[in-house]
């Protein structure tokens, strides 16, 4: 009995000994953004309205490769003013064979909330507007968005600080906004080779592009707790933890500002992960 008690206490001692965190010297400070802290920005932020197309897709979606072609054409047309994110979702997104599972936790939250599991794929939204089939009508929706004067401007770059990747996002309010806003930061990756089903038969080594790999913030973003009066500018640093299976050179960061209630996107910005 005594030995048992003694052993238990030694185990407790070992447990407690482990209860001591050691912070490496190059990690004494970390980007403050994870807690939603914003700082005044003095950057010149381009006054550009951009649009984001969310394409809900999957490797088992036979019409999705055709939708990809349409979207790629739009991307070529609009250049940096259109950002694409491919969200592999639901049963259509189940991997084939030994291919990687391209579905993500955050993407599943979006899919189940914004699309619904009973909806057929492909499905798309531009700036979280109406859901539509992306095989047609993309440019009309993008044109409508790009015609607006942006309420908020965005600028993003990725930097490396002591081997830690950081997304530095600057925002500028071009008009006073009263409603609460969120910012979301995510990672996309190009050129992931998988088998893709298609109406013409399976396509091997199909290059999946703009694939949502992870959302660094909460799926619906983190609040922008600042004074949102016209002319004010802020920046935030958000840490990047690259998922193991991602190829950094093929990755992009995407950040967008959305209305906390309606979830509609006000503006979006994209940059390469590796500058």
């Amino acid at each position: 009995m005594k030995k048992t008690i003694f052993t238990a206490l030694v185990c407790a001692l070992v447990f407690l000994t482990a209860s001591c965190d050691k912070i490496e010297q190059d990690r004494y400070t970390v980007p403050a953004g994870a807690t939603g802290q914003w700082f005044p920005s003095h950057e010149n932020i381009p006054n550009i309205q951009r649009a984001m197309i969310e394409k809900y897709t999957g490797v088992r979606c036979v019409n999705c490769p055709d939708a990809d072609e349409v979207i790629h054409a739009s991307l070529d047309h609009y250049g940096d003013n259109l950002v694409a994110v491919a969200i592999h979702s639901g049963a259509f997104g189940r991997p084939l064979g030994s291919d990687p599972d391209l579905r993500t936790e955050g993407g599943t939250v979006w899919y189940e909330t914004l699309v619904g599991t009973s909806t057929g794929l492909p499905a798309a939204m531009v700036n979280r507007g109406d859901l539509f089939n992306p095989l047609s009508g993309i440019n009309d929706k993008v044109d409508q968005i790009l015609a607006y004067q942006p309420p908020v401007s965005m600028l993003m770059s990725s930097t490396s600080n002591n081997d830690l990747l950081i997304a530095e996002i600057h925002i500028g309010f071009l008009q006073t906004i009263s409603q609460p806003l969120n910012i979301t930061l995510l990672l996309t990756e190009d050129n992931i080779l998988t088998t893709q089903t298609h109406v013409g038969g399976d396509i091997h080594d199909y290059a999946q592009n703009h694939v949502l790999r992870t959302i660094f913030t909460d799926a619906w973003g983190v609040p922008i707790d600042v004074d949102k009066t016209e002319g004010s500018k802020y920046f935030i640093n958000l840490p990047i933890n690259l998922p193991d299976q991602c190829v950094a050179g093929n990755c992009h960061l995407v950040a967008f500002i959305s209305d906390q209630e309606s979830r509609q996107i006000l503006n979006v910005v994209q940059c390469d992960l590796i500058p």
């Binding site: 990690r27 802290q37 640093n237």
Partner: protein, 557 residues
């Protein structure tokens, strides 16, 4: 407020009356003991000493500790009332309630306490949960405390809990700890009868706090805070004949906090104590080095609360007023110190010893800062320090006390003290204060029931009163005190302290009357209290000036 106070007085009086009955009759075979203390204060404005009016007219601190014991089981609680807190006690104590309670069981093998408990590992450098009512300090832990004695000479303690802060508990900061102590003479048979006695001990304490936002000086960044901070210590206690040696070394992991300006430097402390004693003579040498060892369960707590550890003081705790005017407050962020203490009794019948012998007590202590090189501020390692080099002088205290019984009725004690005080230890900048203090204390035992005591003190200082700094201790002082104990139970004392030169010419007179009966003591006082620091064991509380009536009632049952 007065209504509340009257209710409190009645409640405590009833408890005091009822308690002996409870003790006599017992409760379910057990018995009840306890103690009650009521302190009160009335103070009026006095611009010369800096005392301000008390809007409540009457302030009081009261408490009642009740302990029930039945065989191996005990349980207790403490009622406290601060209506409102007396001057110098934190206003957050305002109110009344039962903040502390516990139940405990113990036998030869184990003792377990659930609820509030006090505990100490070694000298306290990694854990000391204690309370001092005069400092307004209570960092008791509420949780579970277990002590095991699996073999003779072996004690293992384990605890977990959260710390008290005023009327609440810091539930965000978890404190966990284990400690083991082994007496080698008890477990190694050949050493059982040895004159060489040795005890070894080791402990580890860990605190957990959730993350919080502490901004880095670099815009856009925050501090990456360790959520679990550990501190460990090893210690030994050796005795051989007239010699004894105690040593303890403690090390603390990264613990950026408001107390160390959020630096990541690890902390450490070393304490050495060597003693030689024989009949009529004892000598003691203490040394310590403390570097960034402030350990609290809340990294943003800058006040006197939530200390997990305690750094022992090595300066002498003086009894005379002027030697205590500049007490030393332990600098947990960094200090080095050395103290020597020699007591010698000159034998009776010698030239210097006379008929009754003469007691000589010499004490000296020097405390300095660390020799540091700054690296940076928050979010860095802060500084480097040299282990053996000393920094700025913080405090020097030398005293010589000679006590001699002049006759069967008269005893004279003469003390000379020299102190150097650096105001930086109280957070101020300024020149060093050099003080000479002389004390004569004569006690005349008139008969078995009547004792008269005279005390005269003088302090000469190179400090001068500056209204901008407003340190009312500055200047030269004299003091006289007469105390008369009569009828075995009563005492009355009259005293006055006066800053006669280079001070602010304030007069601090006091009249005090007291009555003792068994375990009950009642004391009334009227006079002026100088503002300053009250330090006990190197832990200090700011005491503001007051002018008026004080009273105190203590009793136990």
């Amino acid at each position: 407020m007065m209504t509340n106070f009257r209710k409190l007085i009645v409640l405590l009086a009833l408890a005091a009356i009822a308690a002996p009955q409870l003790k006599a009759q017992g409760i379910m075979g057990g018995h009840v003991t306890g103690n009650i203390q009521i302190d009160g204060q009335v103070s009026h404005a006095d611009s010369l000493i800096g005392a301000s009016d008390v809007p409540e007219n009457l302030l009081s601190n009261s408490r009642a500790d009740i302990l029930y014991t039945n065989g191996n089981f005990s349980a207790g609680l403490r009622f406290e009332a601060y209506l409102n807190p007396m001057l110098g006690f934190n206003a957050l104590y305002q109110g009344m309630g039962v903040p502390n309670f516990f139940a405990s069981y113990q036998n030869d093998l184990i003792s377990v306490t659930a609820g509030n408990f006090y505990e100490q590992f070694g000298s306290g450098m990694i854990l000391r949960a204690y309370e001092d009512r005069y400092l307004g300090l209570d960092n008791s832990l509420r949780g579970l405390n277990v002590a095991l004695r699996p073999f003779p000479g072996v004690t293992i303690k384990a605890l977990t809990g959260v710390q008290r802060i005023y009327w609440g508990y810091n539930t965000q900061g978890l404190v966990r700890g284990v400690d083991g102590e082994v007496n080698l003479n008890s477990i190694i048979t050949p050493m059982a009868e040895s004159k060489f006695r040795m005890t070894l001990g080791a402990g580890f304490v860990s605190k957990y706090e959730p993350d919080e936002f502490i901004s880095s000086p670099e815009p856009g960044y925050k501090l990456n805070l360790p959520l679990n901070v550990g501190a460990g210590a090893v210690r030994m206690d050796m005795n051989y004949g007239n010699w004894s040696l105690q040593a303890e070394y403690a090390h603390k992991g990264q613990d950026p906090s408001v107390m160390n300006n959020y630096i990541y430097r690890e902390g450490e402390a070393l304490m050495l104590n060597a003693v030689y004693s024989m009949k009529g003579f004892s000598a003691n040498l203490q040394a310590k080095r403390v570097d960034n060892m402030c350990f609290k369960s809340a990294r943003s707590e800058s006040g006197e609360m939530l200390y997990i550890n305690y750094i022992p003081a090595i300066t002498k705790q003086h009894t005379y007023a002027f030697l205590n005017m500049y007490p030393y407050a332990t600098q947990t962020t960094g200090e080095m110190g050395l103290q020597g203490d020699v007591m010698y009794k000159i034998k009776k019948g010698t030239l210097l010893g006379g008929k009754y012998g003469t007691d000589i007590h010499i004490n000296g202590a020097v405390i300095t800062g660390l020799d540091t090189t700054t690296i940076g501020g928050a979010g860095t390692d802060g500084y480097t320090s040299s282990w053996f080099k000393t920094g700025d002088l913080y405090y020097t205290d030398l005293s010589l006390e000679v006590a001699k019984k002049l006759s069967s009725a008269l005893k004279l004690t003469c003390t000379y003290g020299y102190q150097i005080f650096n105001p930086i230890v109280e957070g101020h900048h300024g020149d060093l204060h050099h003080n000479h203090v002389a004390v004569a204390d004569l006690t005349w035992k008139i008969n078995k029931k009547n004792v008269l005591r005279f005390e005269a003190e003088w302090m000469g200082s190179d400090s001068k009163y500056d209204p901008d700094v407003d340190d009312k201790r500055c200047g030269d002082w004299i003091m006289g005190l007469v105390e008369y104990n009569f009828a075995s139970s009563w005492f009355i004392s009259v005293s006055d302290q006066y800053s006669y030169h280079d001070g602010n010419n304030a007069n601090y007179y006091n009249v005090s009357l007291g009555y003792n009966h068994g375990a009950t003591r009642l004391q009334l006082g009227y006079g002026k209290q100088r503002e300053g620091l009250l330090c006990i064991g190197g832990v200090c509380r700011q005491v503001p000036a007051s002018n008026g009536l004080t009273f105190s009632l203590t009793t136990s049952f």
